[in-house]
């Protein structure tokens, strides 16, 4: 894996010496566009290890991703395309490439189009673009709303979208909508699978129905966008685990299903000149039941709330600075025979139930297609060790400390 990281870094550095350009060629008299991107990060933390990496000694560079896509406009209204994506973030992703998106899109009218295939899920300002480091000022999106270890949970669905943009009368701006339904399928190298593995609980599949919508209003006030998203899910999973009450009993097959799983997100973005201000609020509620041989052994209700306010300002053509405050809290209530092993956590003032993160960033655009970011995180709290929110007992066997400072360096390329 180390050799693979070094190889990718070398490719990136070589590519950076060239003037990267998107590739275009004709196929059956249709123009095909090829684009790609890659990023490499390094994280050093003062105390707790973070994001499934061993970050607190010299730091970790196991923070790499890349993607490449091809798309073609078949007719005036019909286009197809696909993108592959691969990432390695500590214990997540683990270099298992996947189809990131791949769909056919037919736009009947500006106000009505359909997409079918594997489609990126629209949820708030950045869910569908969260992997695209080069689009934003920050090296890490606010983890209260866009936890990178839960990427698989929201990133895409195998199904379809209807979408469109409707201009409003009387100079009231326009409304863009997306409604979707499909199947979510998590990698077994996701944060959910990894956090469960601390209990010798191993998933073989995790996913289910995902449906929802997004409505955003480009207001008549120049540069102001506001919106709301909703996502509902009906999930199931198969796993095996070792019963902690009978460790010598070997692996037991487990089925899991959600009784409730929904996300609400509200957001706004205001761009004025060189300044961009974003703010989002997300609430995620999950009620899931573990069953063995048809009997419930554990029911867990999780309520996650997160919000942030960020500002980014371009000082010079090639230099941007930014800052955000991100606030995350989680509560968990358990029931069933195994509940005593998972005491309820409801006091969000405790560091075990929150993460408050103050962040400062500088981004330098070395070339139009190549940037470098330096970012500082000053975190209070470490979240719930039974929920994937950045801090994991596997990397912190000595226990958690209440505060963590982090230095994040990241560079990315795109063409």
């Amino acid at each position: 894996m180390y050799r693979r990281t070094v190889l990718l870094q070398s490719i990136c550095l070589c590519a950076a010496q060239l003037s990267l350009q998107a590739q275009e060629f004709k196929l059956f008299d249709r123009q095909v566009q090829i684009h790609g991107f890659a990023s490499q990060g390094f994280v050093h933390t003062s105390d707790n290890n973070w994001l499934t990496m061993n970050t607190s000694n010299v730091g970790s560079g196991e923070f790499t991703d890349f993607g490449a896509n091809a798309s073609v406009q078949i007719t005036d209204k019909f286009r197809v395309g696909a993108q592959i994506y691969d990432r390695n973030l500590g214990q997540l992703g683990r270099w298992h490439s996947s189809l990131d998106w791949g769909f056919a899109d037919y736009r009947f009218k500006p106000w009505f189009g359909v997409r079918g295939g594997k489609v990126k899920t629209v949820l708030g300002l950045y869910n569908d673009t969260q992997d695209l480091d080069f689009l934003r000022t920050f090296a890490l999106l606010p983890q209260s709303v866009y936890p990178t270890d839960l990427r698989d949970a929201t990133i895409a669905h195998l199904g379809g979208d209807v979408y469109g943009t409707v201009p409003l009368q009387r100079h009231l701006g326009d409304l863009s909508y997306t409604a979707y339904a499909g199947h979510r399928s998590d990698s077994i190298y996701s944060g959910i699978a990894y956090v469960a593995s601390q209990y010798k609980f191993y998933y073989s599949s995790y996913g289910g129905l995902q449906y929802g919508g997004d409505l955003r209003w480009n207001t008549p006030l120049k540069g102001l966008l506001i919106g709301v998203s909703r996502m509902d899910e009906d999930l199931s999973a198969k796993a095996k685990f070792i019963n902690p009450l009978n460790p010598s009993g070997g692996f037991i097959p487990d089925n899991e299903h959600s009784k409730a799983d929904w996300t609400n997100q509200f957001y706004g973005e205001w761009t004025v000149g060189r300044l961009q201000i974003d703010s989002e609020y997300r609430r995620f509620v999950n009620d899931q039941v573990e069953q063995v041989a048809g009997s419930a052994i554990l029911e867990t209700k999780v309520d996650v709330r997160g919000w942030y306010v960020s500002g980014a300002y371009r000082i010079f053509k090639r230099l941007k600075i930014g800052s955000y405050y991100s606030r995350y809290s989680v509560t968990r209530v358990s029931g069933g025979p195994l509940a005593p092993l998972f005491p309820d956590q409801t006091d969000t003032s405790l560091p075990a139930n929150h993460i408050y993160d103050k962040v400062i960033t500088a981004r330098v655009d070395l070339k139009k297609f190549w940037n470098l970011k330096v970012e500082g995180h000053f975190m209070d709290g470490y979240g719930d060790s039974t929920f994937p929110d950045g801090f994991y007992p596997q990397q912190n066997p000595q226990g958690f400390k209440p505060n963590t400072n982090a230095l994040v360096l990241k560079t990315s390329l795109n063409f």
Partner: protein
Amino acid sequence: MKNQRFLPLVAAVVMFGSVHALAGNVKIIANPSVKAEAISDSEIKSVFLEERNSLRDGTHVEPVLSRGGPAHAAFLKDYLGQNDDALQNYYRSLVFTGKGSMPKVLHSDEEVVAYVAKTRGAIGYVSSTAAVDGVKTLAVYQAENKTARKLISSLEPVYPAILHSNQIGGTVRLKVTIASNGTVEDVELLGGNPILGEAAMAAVKKWVYAAGRSRTQTEVSILFDPNR
């Protein structure tokens, strides 16, 4: 009097009502395959943001961008309301989520005109002084002007020969007061070259609109293009 330099432009502009006040900073140009003679400011925005790839008349269009320069800056400010950085990020977000493609980007007005001239459905922008041989210049109107009255008959302005031969042109903006019976009651020069303005006002005073319930006012812009 026939004058092909601005016949279609004037007619289309007036039918749709008032023209974008900043249309004089850049010219919106299109491949001759584009049937429309005029385009609304909101259509321009949605075409260049890839929210639509056809005009109201069904003509397929493909946006073409300039890489930097005053025309590009004016276009972003006047029509898209965002800076170049934000626009490039917008296109990248489309490209990497599969929801759009990267538009053609060219380096100069000459390259934009040449590409638009040879590419079916291409639509771009150049500075108002650029030569636009082989392409058509689209008039731009504001999308929402519900009080606009239909133009029944028009007389085209006479382009003063001395100004034309000296390559002096530009956009003239007029405020037109229309009586309830459709005749033009009054014309006021709002902006532009005064000599071209006189020529435009003389012609517009003889225009006739559809009858209405009351007197109305509208804004008319007329482009005098010395290169046509």
